[in-house]
């Protein structure tokens, strides 16, 4: 087995660590690696922090395990290896009338990674996260056994692995239910809202009636426009509601266009001024609209710019995503936003969304409101996030491990109390010697060595 040693990071480019990487081409290779090393599987490295780093072991990338195994054209059930990406699914199945039932905000995520993070999308309040559509997967565990996990068989391991951050074993392949569509377009409705109260009111009013719902929020606006934003609602468009032009386009193969940020911008382009201008610009140029948008623009606007994280210079970014219970949710988010402002921090892009419940033991979502913000890593950023953690805990909330790079063990165990203990029992049963480890796992006490 060949290894490559290099400085590695997640998508946030913070933290960075020297890791030994391998690209197994299947079961045989992974078993070889596991004999002598501890392992964390890694897909495309789209988790933001150190979830896919492993300085004390091997990072095993699934790049070569990206094959479709079977597809049921009538039921929309696809079986594939763990390294198959959302892009693969979209490129292959949209034209045949099938769409990922749950998709994160980038298509550069593997199915293995999606399951390990139990990713959610704009429709979480309606259908839950990806695990709701995973009927089964095969997991290679520390003992070398291949265990078929589903709601019926080995359900404990199933629920520990969805959202389990890759620490229960190596997902080899999985079976996923796609959603039937008649067009690649989304009916999009945007509603401009002048302040936080209005924003929350409309989220409540509209979320039930729309399959997709998320609100962009201007974190920098002050005074009477504090908390202003745009509520973005959507439904999959039926082919017969589309204008003629789009009807025709729906039948054609979609060719995406892309630009790239070719290198890390050497200085931080994101400061109070640019962030304020950017956010004000979005708000002021937005209108209340209703239109049809192609799925690529609707779900993956940032994928249009390859390597957009390069705008955050070398020091990287922290994506902070919290979830707080519905009750007093607005109050909690209000406090968080004020804290961010008091630190002089603005978020380039911030979104609020209503979430539903989720069964995965360590899955991030539960019924409540989620707020996600990203901050450039600089002096004070980490301290600010730790202050935010306190507010989140006070309101019985938690933050998202897939985006995390700052939680300590105590804070994590407080946020996920009652859950981590349950998860740990399963981890100990299937991986008593900690063969599956990551820097995240060590940091928050999910793996002991």
């Amino acid at each position: 087995m060949k290894f490559e040693e290099t400085e590695l990071s997640g998508f946030g480019k913070y933290p960075k660590a020297k890791c030994k990487i391998a690209q197994p081409s299947g079961l045989f290779d992974i078993s070889e690696i596991l004999k002598k090393n501890s392992v964390i599987p890694r897909g495309l490295g789209r988790s933001y922090g150190d979830a896919s780093l492993n300085v004390k072991g091997i990072v095993a990338e699934t790049a070569l395990m990206n094959r479709f195994i079977s597809f049921d054209e009538n039921k929309g059930i696809v079986k594939c290896e763990a390294g198959v990406t959302y892009k693969d699914l979209l490129d292959t199945f949209v034209i045949r009338g099938w769409f990922p039932a749950v998709t994160p905000g980038t298509k550069y995520v593997t199915m293995g990674g999606a399951i390990a993070s139990d990713v959610h999308g704009k429709n979480h309040h309606k259908v839950g996260s990806i695990s709701s559509f995973v009927s089964s997967f095969r997991l290679l565990t520390a003992t070398g056994d291949i265990i078929e996990c589903s709601r019926e068989n080995n359900s404990g391991l199933f629920w520990a692995t969805v959202g389990g951050m890759g620490l229960t074993g190596f997902i080899l392949d999985c079976e996923i239910q796609l959603k039937k569509i008649t067009s690649p377009y989304i009916f999009n409705k945007a509603i401009k809202l002048g302040n936080l109260d209005a924003l929350f009111e409309k989220i409540e009013e509209y979320s039930d009636n729309y399959h997709y719902s998320v609100a962009w929020i201007d974190v920098v606006a002050k005074g009477s426009s504090y908390g202003r934003g745009i509520l973005l609602l959507g439904n999959n468009a039926e082919i017969n509601e589309l204008p003629e032009k789009l009807k025709k386009r729906s039948q054609l193969k979609y060719i995406e266009k892309k630009i790239a940020v070719p290198f890390e911008i050497p200085f931080n382009t994101l400061n109070k001024l640019t962030v304020s201008l950017f956010n004000a610009g979005i708000y002021l140029t937005a209108r209340n609209t209703e239109d049809f948008q192609h799925y690529d623009k609707y779900f993956y606007p940032l994928d249009f710019v390859l390597d957009w994280n390069h705008i955050y210079s070398k020091s990287g970014l922290i994506q902070y995503q919290l979830n707080v219970p519905l009750e007093k949710g607005k109050e909690a988010i209000d406090k968080v936003l004020k804290k961010v402002v008091s630190y002089g921090g603005g978020s380039f892009l911030a979104v609020i969304k209503k979430m539903g419940n989720q069964e995965g033991i360590l899955s991030f979502p539960f019924e409540g409101y989620t707020l996600s913000m990203d901050f450039p890593v600089k002096k004070g950023t980490i301290e600010m996030c730790q202050q935010l953690d306190k507010i989140v805990m006070e309101y019985g909330g938690r933050t998202y491990l897939t985006k995390d790079s700052i939680l300590d063990e105590k804070t994590f165990k407080h946020m996920y109390s009652g859950l981590w203990e349950k998860w740990m029992k399963i981890k100990m049963k299937y991986d008593p010697n900690n063969k599956f480890t990551s820097d995240l796992g060590r940091r928050i006490g999910l793996c002991l060595s």
């Binding site: 060949k2 290894f3 081409s25 094959r67 079977s70």
Partner: protein, 245 residues
Amino acid sequence: MSLLILGANSLIAQAAASHFAEAGHEIIFAGRKQDEPEKYANDFAIRYKCRTRAEYIDALDYPSHKKFVEDILAKTPELEYILIVFGYLGTQDKAQTDFTEAHRIIDTNFTGVVSVCELFAAEFESLKKGNIAVISSVAGDRGRQSNYMYGSAKGGLTVYLSGLRNRLFKSGVNVLTIKPGFVNTPMTYGMPLPKPLVASPEKVGKDIYKAMIKRKSVIYTPFYWRWIMFVITSIPEFLFKKLKL
């Protein structure tokens, strides 16, 4: 029409095949490991909705080649394109002290290819049609101390293909020699290569597809390797032998 790939697990071959598949061709994956060709055949059938098939071939099992070729031809009357990609990089140091390694390098990269190629060539020659594309290497353009075992096998292959092209020209059969530079594949994984010169298998695969369709004779991929190798082959031997390449 059909494309036969010899060396099914090559990312370069798969990338080239994806373009053939999108153009509606049947893809036949042949490889050494029993389950791998099947895996790729399955994947392509789902991804591109094309006809696919899996076959088994061991480049070093010469006696089996005749039957393999006969079977393929019997099953595939529409066979038009053959892409031969199997190869073995080996370890230069090991090959210098252990002849088994040297032997394997030469056999996989040269003898094995010649064995299969001749059989298909004879058939295509009589049918007066067909395209044979083979991956050689820029390493075959000039021997260097760091990998002359692999380089010489590929160099021999390049010369062989040049002769074969000459022979088959009058029968309307095209022979394409492909000379890739550094490509990001499992073969080069973990090697300290100059990053800007490392191409993706997708880029190289697309170049190969285009060259096969256009019935080219020799391509370097990416194209700039033609110039790099021009410089390297232009250095006079009295200087070249002193270099640490």
